[in-house]
Symmetry: C2
C-alpha cells in the first residue's frame, strides 16, 4: 500500500495517462510518465517524465527505480518492457493481463474458457484456414490480426462476395482470428475496478456509438434491461477476478436481443469510461489510481443521465461553443497537432435523473 507522496510510474504520455495523473494529484500522489519522443500531453501535468523508447533498458531501469509502482495507458506494452520494470517494482495490471489482451485469439479463448459468451471464432494461419473458416461461419465474418489491432486497423470485413485472398493480403497474412459477424443491436461496455485485496466495483453498463471504428458517443443509462446490465457487470468482475487483476479494466460487449457477447477486453482505463469524471461518484481514473496504489476503491454510483461525445480531429474546434453551453463539461487533451481521426478531447453532459 502506497503512502501519500509516493510516485506512480505511467507508461504512455497520451490523454489516458494525462487523466490518470490529474486523478492522482488530489490523492497526494505524484506521477512520473515514461513515453517515447512525440506529442506527450501527459508530461504537462506530471511531476516528472522520461522521454525514451520502451526498449531503452537503461531508461527503464532508472524510471523503475524512481517510482513506487508502474501502470500503463495502453495494452501493447512490450512483454520485455514489463519484465524489466517488474524486476524493480510492482506492475499493475499484471503481465498475464497484458499477455492475454495483446493477442485476440488468446483473449477470446480465455473469455470462452471462463464460460462467458463470445462470438464464434477460429484461428487463421493460412488462406486455407480462412477458406475453411468462412465456409463454417456461413459467408460473413471479421478477420482480425491477433496482435496490435487498434481502432479498426488490421481488420477485414468478409462477406460472401469478398475475395478471400484479398482479405488475407489486407491483414498482411499475419496470424489472425476470424470471428463470426454478430448482428448486434448495440455496442456497450462495462468499466470495472479491482483492488489488490480482491474487492471489485463495476460501473454501470454504458452504450457506445462508433464512427469509422472510433468511439463517438457514450450514453447512460444504456438501452438494455436491468438484468442484462447486471449480467454485464458480473462478467467484467468475473474476468477481472480470473486475471487476479489490479486496476481498472474495460469489457466491450455486443448486445443482440436479450443476449450479451463479449467483444474484447482492454486492460486499462477506457474512452467509454470518460463519463465517470463528472458522471460517477468516483472517476475511472481515480479508481485506477486507488487500485494500483493498493488503496480501497471509491463508489462507482452514476450521478445522472449522461452523454459523452468525443471530439475527433477538427470537432475540437467547437471548443468555444462548448464553453458557452451551460452544463457542458469540456475536456481538451492538450495535443499539439490536430489530425483527422485523432482524439483531441471530449465533452460530457450530465442531467438529473428523470423522476
Amino acid at each position: 500500500m502506497l503512502k501519500p507522496g509516493a510516485t506512480i510510474g505511467i507508461l504512455g504520455g497520451g490523454q489516458l495517462a494525462r487523466m490518470m495523473a490529474l486523478a492522482a494529484a488530489p490523492l497526494g500522489l505524484k506521477c512520473h510518465i515514461f513515453s517515447p519522443k512525440g506529442d506527450n500531453p501527459a508530461f504537462d501535468v506530471a511531476a516528472a517524465f522520461t522521454e525514451a523508447d520502451y526498449t531503452d533498458e537503461a531508461a527503464l531501469h532508472a524510471f523503475a527505480d524512481a517510482v513506487d509502482v508502474v501502470t500503463y495507458e495502453f495494452e501493447n506494452v512490450p512483454a520485455r518492457t514489463a519484465d524489466v520494470l517488474a524486476g524493480h517494482c510492482p506492475v499493475h495490471p499484471n503481465a498475464r493481463a497484458l499477455a492475454i489482451t495483446q493477442d485476440r485469439l488468446t483473449e477470446k479463448s480465455f473469455i470462452r474458457d471462463l464460460g462467458l459468451p463470445v462470438p464464434d471464432f477460429r484461428a487463421i494461419d493460412s488462406l486455407d484456414d480462412l477458406k475453411a473458416g468462412m465456409a463454417a461461419l456461413g459467408g460473413f465474418g471479421v478477420l482480425k490480426t491477433r496482435r496490435l489491432g487498434y481502432d479498426g486497423k488490421g481488420q477485414a470485413m468478409i462477406r460472401p462476395e469478398t475475395v478471400l485472398a484479398e482479405a488475407w493480403a489486407k491483414v498482411g497474412e499475419a496470424p489472425c482470428i476470424l470471428e463470426a459477424l454478430v448482428p448486434f443491436d448495440r455496442e456497450c461496455s462495462v468499466i470495472a475496478a479491482r483492488s489488490a485485496n480482491g474487492s471489485s466495483a463495476a460501473y454501470e453498463i454504458c452504450e457506445n456509438e462508433h464512427r469509422h471504428h472510433i468511439l463517438s458517443r457514450t450514453i447512460l443509462p444504456a438501452s438494455v434491461s436491468s438484468q442484462l446490465g447486471h449480467e454485464a457487470m458480473a462478467m467484467a468482475e468475473k474476468i477481472a477476478a480470473a486475471l487476479d487483476y489490479v486496476g481498472v479494466m474495460t469489457v466491450e460487449l455486443f448486445v443482440a436481443g436479450d443476449r450479451l457477447l463479449v467483444n474484447e477486453i482492454a486492460p486499462r482505463v477506457h474512452n467509454s469510461g470518460h463519463w465517470t469524471i463528472e458522471g460517477a461518484e468516483t472517476s475511472q481514473f481515480e479508481n485506477h489510481i486507488r487500485a494500483v496504489a493498493g488503496w480501497p476503491l471509491g463508489l462507482t454510483r452514476r450521478l445522472g443521465r449522461i452523454e459523452m461525445n468525443n471530439l475527433i480531429g477538427d470537432e475540437a474546434d467547437r471548443w468555444e461553443d462548448l464553453l458557452k453551453e451551460p452544463g457542458a463539461h469540456l475536456h481538451l487533451y492538450g495535443k499539439a497537432e490536430s489530425r483527422p481521426g485523432r482524439k483531441m478531447g471530449h465533452v460530457t453532459r450530465v442531467w438529473p435523473e428523470k423522476a
Copy 2:
C-alpha cells in the same frame, strides 16, 4: 481570449495554485508556476515552473514572456512584481484589486463607500488613536495591522480589561485598523466569478467554522434565509463589478441576526470554495481559469448538501480512513512536511438534496 494550448502563469506554488493547474489542464491550457524556493506542491502538476523570488526581475521578465496571462494564488503579491509582469501580459485580477485588498483600511473604506455594510472601523496610527478608538467603540474591538494579515496573525482582541499599550505593542505599532467586535451568529462567505466581458456568477453562500483562526469546516446550505443569501451574492457581484474584476473573488461575511456585514475580500480562489470541486457544476478553480483566459463562465449551481472539512496538520494522517469512507472525496495537497496549523488537505462530502 486565450486559445487552447496557451499558458497561464500563476504566482505561488501552494495548494490553491495546484488546484488551479488541475482545473486548467482539462480545458487544454498549460500552467507555468512562479514561486520562491520552498515546498511548492503546484510544481508537480504544472507544465513548467520558475523557482525564484518575487523581487527577481530577470526571472519575472522571463516568466512573463513565457506565459499568456498571469494570475496568482495569494493577495500579497508585491506591487512592483505585478507592475513588472503587467508590462508584458495581462495580470488578472488587476492591480487595483491587489492594492485595495492588501490594506485592510483601504479595503473596508472601499466596501463602505460602495454602500455595503461593514463593522464600524477607524484608522489607528498611534496609541492615542487606539485609546480614542476604543472609547468610541465601547470597550470591545479587534486591532489588525493594515497589511499582511493572514489567518489571524497580526491581530489583537481588545476587551475592557486589555492594556492598550500591550495590544499596540503586539501589533508592532504598525499602521492598523480598529474594528468593532461584531457579535455575529455565524461566519459565511460567497465565492463569485467575473469574466472579462463583465458577466458574473456567484456561488451560493456557504457557512464557515474556524478553529484557531483557520478555516475548519464549510457547510451548505448555510443557515441563513434565502433573502440574506441572495443579498450576499449580490454584494459579491457588486464588489467585483466595482473593481472591474476578472477572476474568482471571495467575500467573507458576518451574519448577525438578519444582518450581513462584510468582513473581508480575498482577490482569489479560497479555501471556503473547495466544496465547489465536487459540489458545484463548475469548480471555483475552473471558473477562475475560464475568467482569466477570457472565456465564458461555467454554471455555479450547487449539486447537493455539502460539508467540506480541512485537514490541518496531523489531521491528514486520517487519509486511510477517509479513503475507506464511501462518498468522501479526499484531497491531499502533496506538501512535503506536515506542521501544526498547516493546511495539508481537505475532504468533501456531498449528499443528495433533501426531498
